[in-house]
């Protein structure tokens, strides 16, 4: 079988799945570009008769979507920074020192990274309200970090182990202090792993539903995900053209990150899932 025929056959085999995956994106784009009058016509049409970009401006003024995006950005970046600050030293300790109970520690990390907040949500809500942190972004940052840090330590330490000790030891011999060799030798080498871990933590926070749904109360605090959810669930009438424009704005940056860093992210995912 020639290369061209083989390629055609494989694309044909994949096409049902590809169509189902791409359908929502096509719907998103098609609806986001339509004026409201064209959205609610029967039967619905794929191509807008007039392309209307006003949906993308309306979402900033009418539903204050900019604030929601900023809230999402704030909690996701906050959670990423906190997670890395905690996980980098922990992973370094696991990779470089012979610890007693190391096996138990690894088992603990492996187990807790799989626990999701959903089954504990009542307890988490009560804990945060006892701390006075309901409707406070700090509760989300703490919770996101709490549920991400085990995975982050796990991923970082398996990468740190591949950085040879000899490089640091050589720096010691040349008179560098422990901290200096850590900062100038080790951390630059560990940057790729830290970057991928940061992306994972960020995406996990950015895409969260249940914690933001439970811990946030007022419209001004809502994340982008929550804002969109309340737009489509609460009221009887939904302005789908605006919702789709907002969904597009929320999705595109994450999709762009994924496309740019596909190789590293997939590598990290495989590592996290299998090793």
């Amino acid at each position: 079988m020639s290369y061209a025929r083989k390629s055609f056959l494989f694309w044909l085999l994949l096409s049902p799945l590809l169509i189902v995956i791409l359908l929502p994106y096509a719907v998103m784009l098609s609806t986001a570009l339509k004026p409201a009058t064209e959205v609610f016509t029967f039967p619905p049409r794929w191509l807008p008769e007039t392309i209307d970009l006003s949906n993308f401006t309306i979402i900033w003024t009418k539903i204050d979507f900019g604030r929601a995006l900023l809230n999402s950005l704030y909690v996701s970046v906050g959670a990423t920074i906190l997670t890395l600050l905690l996980a980098i030293p922990a992973a370094y300790a696991m990779a470089r020192y012979t610890l007693p109970a190391r096996g138990a520690l690894r088992l603990f990390l492996l187990l807790t990274q799989m626990i999701s907040p959903v089954v504990l949500i009542i307890g988490i809500f009560r804990m945060m309200s006892a701390q006075g942190l309901i409707n406070d972004h700090r509760s989300l940052i703490l919770a996101y970090s709490g549920f991400s840090v085990a995975f982050a330590v796990w991923m970082l330490q398996s990468y740190f182990e591949t950085i040879p000790r000899e490089i640091e030891e050589a720096a010691h011999i040349d008179g560098a202090s422990w901290f200096a060799s850590l900062r100038h030798i080790f951390l630059p080498l560990a940057m790729p792993a830290i970057g991928v871990t940061a992306i994972f933590t960020f995406i996990a926070a950015w895409t969260d539903f249940i914690l933001a749904f439970t811990l946030l109360r007022t419209p001004d605090k809502l994340t982008a995900t929550m804002k969109l959810f309340y737009l489509v669930s609460g009221t009887y009438h939904v302005d789908w053209n605006e919702v789709m424009a907002a969904t597009l704005v929320t999705t595109v940056p994450i999709a762009a990150i994924f496309i740019l860093l596909q190789k590293q992210i997939v590598g990290g995912l495989a590592l996290g899932a299998v090793k």
């Binding site: 994106y25 609610f40 922990a90 610890l99 492996l110 089954v119 307890g123 789908w240 899932a273």
Partner: protein, 291 residues
């Protein structure tokens, strides 16, 4: 190693461990306490009631209906995902024109959240103005628009299909790893000895990727069991609880019906179930790492 030497690594580990133990330990302890006490609407624990909250829960027909649906949901999503992902990963691990683009499209939904997927599908499935109905009408597959989310009988299977779609990317990634780990020379030898592609897959590929299948099953069970967002966005468990699974019903019992004690009992049992699968996952993953 001497004691002062261990002080530093433990100091480095402590903050991470403390955060994990706090964020999971406090809720678990609190749930345990509430599950055996009477709890009023404001969440204050009263008298010790033993197993009463559990027996109340077991007498609740909606709990059992959600339980049954959770089993269907988890089994269908897990098996559907794996049955789709193995052939897709097999194709994506071959060399063909445009493979990187195909890979990208298949894996992309992982980065776009279940929430976004749910919201867009809710609109795509809209009974009157939705695009899916437009397509079906256009190709003459139906002469009347279908109300996909109006009844549980239709909405639940639709939700299962969307659940599968959301789980495919990660599972494909697992199997891509599996196929790339296969020893090429053994397969060359088999081909020279005249083994056909079907026999090769049945007797060589499948046994070799068995550990990855185990991991994929356990991971998907965990994800499916926990998937709150897709059902909540599509139907909120409705109409009339007809699409509730345990996680969505739990949320309602706790925060809408205000029965905190029963919800705690339910939550604890779900946590225990999840823990069993997490232990299974840890065992499989550890074994894989040892290889």
């Amino acid at each position: 190693m001497s004691r002062p030497h261990l002080l530093l690594p433990f100091a480095m580990l402590l903050p991470s461990l403390a955060l994990v133990i706090w964020i999971m330990g406090y809720p678990v302890t609190d749930l345990m306490r509430m599950s055996v006490h009477a709890v009023n609407r404001f969440g204050q624990a009263g008298n010790f009631v033993g197993a009463l909250n559990f027996s109340k829960l077991f007498a609740d027909p909606l709990f059992w209906a959600s339980f049954r649906r959770t089993v269907i949901w988890t089994v269908c999503v897990t098996s559907g995902t794996i049955l789709i992902s193995i052939p897709v990963a097999l194709v994506l691990s071959q060399d063909f024109a445009g493979r990187s683009v195909a890979r990208l499209i298949v894996l992309l939904p992982w980065a776009v959240s279940a929430t976004m997927t749910g919201i867009v599908w809710r609109w795509t499935l809209n009974g009157q103005f939705g695009m899916l109905n437009a397509l079906l009408l256009q190709f003459g597959l139906t002469d009347q628009p279908i109300e996909f989310l109006a009844t549980g009988e239709v909405a639940f299977p639709v939700a299962i299909l969307i659940g599968i779609l959301a789980a495919v990317p990660l599972t494909v990634i697992i199997f891509l790893g599996a196929f790339s780990s296969l020893p090429g020379d053994v397969f060359d030898a088999a081909r020279i000895d005249g083994a056909g592609p079907l026999n090769t897959f049945r007797y060589m590929t499948l046994p070799l990727i068995r550990p990855f299948v185990n991991i994929a099953i356990v991971l998907n069970v965990i994800y499916a069991f926990n998937s709150f967002a897709i059902i909540w966005i599509l139907t909120q468990g409705g109409p009339a609880n007809s699409t509730d699974i345990l996680v969505t019903y739990l949320y309602k019992v706790a925060f809408q019906y205000g029965k905190m004690a029963e919800a705690s009992a339910m939550s604890l049992m779900m946590f225990a179930f999840l823990l069993v699968f997490c232990i299974l996952y840890a065992r499989f993953a550890m074994r894989e790492r040892a290889l």
